[in-house]
């Protein structure tokens, strides 16, 4: 039996636009999981002006919100966040701490795995409660194994969770807000964030939220052809993505990259144009509800897992499809 507090904590990073969306989805999941052992979901909101955003987290599923506005989070990044989460976890011993499986969440999870001695459960695609502790399911080894694992021992479970594992929703509740006392540990502020440079993002609709994604790869031949994909995406109210090959060639920005090292997406339909479907790309889009592939090469691996495969020239077919959609009445 666990001696930890019956609480599931969720790390909620704060950027210029407010609490990060993946963390809000996680809060809804934490709320439902915590109820299974009569526990609470606790948001840990870190960043400048946290107090202004804390109240809204009740509506995202938090029973309590712990905040800190220490300047270190903006100035020193993940090291400082890992430090305050470590201090607070040592003091309160929550049952679990969930972090979204992105850059900062992954860095923090690695530090806490060692600091709290709990190891880490990484890249969960779903979570469940079994005998009062969390188990997670992950899809591993290029999607060939679905693995269920849990933590060993009476510890705070550290779990990183993939985007869209849970759907955020509105709760009627107000959350209690408390300020976390934070005195940075020695060494927690050694990294300095000198400046943040934003590059223009071509994605008018964020890829992660899009119902339909039109994606282009090396087979599009060059950056100009992405205008065709943009037209199609506009016609269906979708977003434009790209394979790593197109990003590495400099045709489109990294913001559009779908794949193992880009975004992992789960739209209702994914239209892959001139994309071979190498494992690096497949990992990022194989959970799409439907996959349509257009490729001149009949042997392209993408035809092994597409629901509808067209052996043909995307440069010809995409404008025809856009026109056909626009002509529908």
């Amino acid at each position: 039996m666990s001696t930890t507090a019956p609480e599931i904590w969720v790390y909620v990073p704060l950027d210029e636009t407010g609490p990060a969306r993946p963390a809000l989805d996680l809060l809804a999941g934490a709320h439902d999981l915590a109820r299974q052992f009569a526990g609470q979901a606790v948001a840990v909101l870190l960043g400048p002006n946290a107090s202004a955003h804390a109240g809204a987290l009740g509506q995202a599923g938090a029973d309590r919100v712990l905040i800190s506005e220490h300047p270190g989070f903006a100035a020193a990044g993940a090291d400082a966040a890992a430090d305050v989460l470590g201090q607070a976890s040592e003091a309160s011993r929550p049952r679990a701490l969930l972090l979204d499986a992105t850059l900062a969440g992954t860095d923090i999870a690695g530090r806490l795995a060692v600091r709290l001695g709990s190891g880490v459960l990484a890249n969960a695609s779903s979570l469940a409660v079994r005998d009062g502790v969390l188990t997670m399911e992950e899809t591993a080894f290029d999607g060939t194994q679905r693995i269920t694992c849990t933590s060993v021992g009476d510890v705070t479970q550290i779990i990183t969770v993939r985007a869209r594992a849970f759907e955020g929703r509105q709760f009627p509740d107000q959350a209690e807000v408390e300020t976390l006392p934070y005195e940075p540990s020695a060494g927690a502020l050694r990294v300095r964030n000198v400046e943040t440079v934003r590059e223009a993002s071509a994605a008018a609709v964020p890829l992660e939220a899009a119902t339909i994604i039109v994606s282009g790869g090396r087979g599009m031949g060059g950056p100009e052809a992405f205008a065709l994909l943009r037209d199609l995406a506009d016609a269906v109210g979708g977003a434009v993505g790209a394979s790593r090959a197109a990003v590495d060639a400099g045709w489109v920005p990294y913001a559009m990259q779908v794949g193992q090292t880009g975004k992992q997406v789960k739209p209702k339909a994914y239209i892959a144009c001139g994309i071979s479907g190498a494992i690096q790309h497949k990992v990022g889009m194989q959970n799409s509800a439907a996959i349509i592939a257009i490729n001149k090469d009949a042997e392209a691996p993408i035809f092994e897992f597409a629901d509808l495969g067209i052996v043909g020239d995307a440069l010809q077919i995409v404008p025809q499809l856009t026109a056909a959609i626009r002509n529908r009445t």
Partner: protein, 261 residues
């Protein structure tokens, strides 16, 4: 500068991965190679060495066969002052992130590096948390997802890649540095490099060398446990048609059937 690059040997991406009776990845029945994410880390280590001088050490933890990946790194190093350390011990089989970090950190302490370089994640487990875990063990600053790295004196400055830009980050050496998969184009080893790799220093350490008890590693020391593993049904192969001028209509029908247009 004393640079250490952590290297893992992983099954090649085309290999069919199987789990054994302990629900561990069967590493013997498959072709293995240097983790693809580690090649840019090796390359970045070599470029920094070429720019600043010093020595470079490649460290791997794994079965004896992981020596192949270290030899490849040594071959890439060519004429540089490079050596390799393999941490190999039968008890390490089944180690999770916690114990892997414990072992690597113990080895790194002995090597007293200024800069520890890791790739983004491993091809097989793919957690990406090892850099943070090592930084915590060694009480070092952590700079990850670096898409550009510069060292000036004792200061390292990186561009931490974001989806829509980057953060310029700085810290004083020593640091743990994680690099993106696209930070550089890794070199191919030259024939001379491959021949020379055989003459470079190659050391093997076991747990005794590192002063770690066997109950801290492997399945015995793991802080996480696999409860079950199942192979999900592969995504069914769909309808493949050749475009005869009607492809746009076919796609439109497909989308309309799913009420997406």
């Amino acid at each position: 500068m004393n640079i250490v690059v952590c290297v893992k040997q992983t099954p090649v991406s085309t290999a069919e991965k199987r789990l054994d009776d302990d629900l561990l990845l069967d590493r013997e029945s498959v072709d293995n190679a240097v983790n693809t994410f580690d090649e840019p880390a090796i390359e970045e280590g070599l470029r920094l060495l070429e720019a600043h001088g010093g020595t470079i050490t490649f460290v791997a933890m794994g079965p004896d066969e992981a020596a192949d990946s270290l030899r490849k790194a040594l071959a890439m190093a060519g004429d540089a002052d490079a050596r390799a350390v393999l941490i190999s011990d039968d008890t390490l089989r089944g180690s999770d992130i916690w114990s892997t970090a414990l072992v690597l950190a113990a080895a790194l302490r002995r090597l007293t590096p200024d800069l520890i370089v890791l790739g983004l994640r491993s091809d097989d487990a793919g957690t990406g948390v090892l850099a943070g875990a090592i930084a915590q063990h060694l009480d070092l600053p952590l700079l990850t997802n670096a898409h550009q790295v510069q060292v000036e004196g004792t200061t390292v400055r990186t561009h931490r890649r974001l989806s829509d830009g980057y953060i310029v980050q700085e810290s004083a050496l020593p640091v743990v540095l994680g690099v993106t998969d696209a930070i550089n184009t890794p070199r191919y080893p030259s024939l001379k490099g491959i021949m020379g790799a055989k003459k470079k220093s190659f050391t093997t350490w076991d747990l005794d060398d590192l002063g770690i008890d066997a109950d801290q590693v492997g399945l015995a020391g793991a802080r996480t446990r696999v409860l079950s593993a199942v192979a999900p049904p592969p995504r069914a192969k769909g309808e493949i048609v050749e475009d005869k001028g009607d492809a746009a209509d076919r796609i439109l029908r497909f989308l309309a059937e799913r009420k997406l247009v």
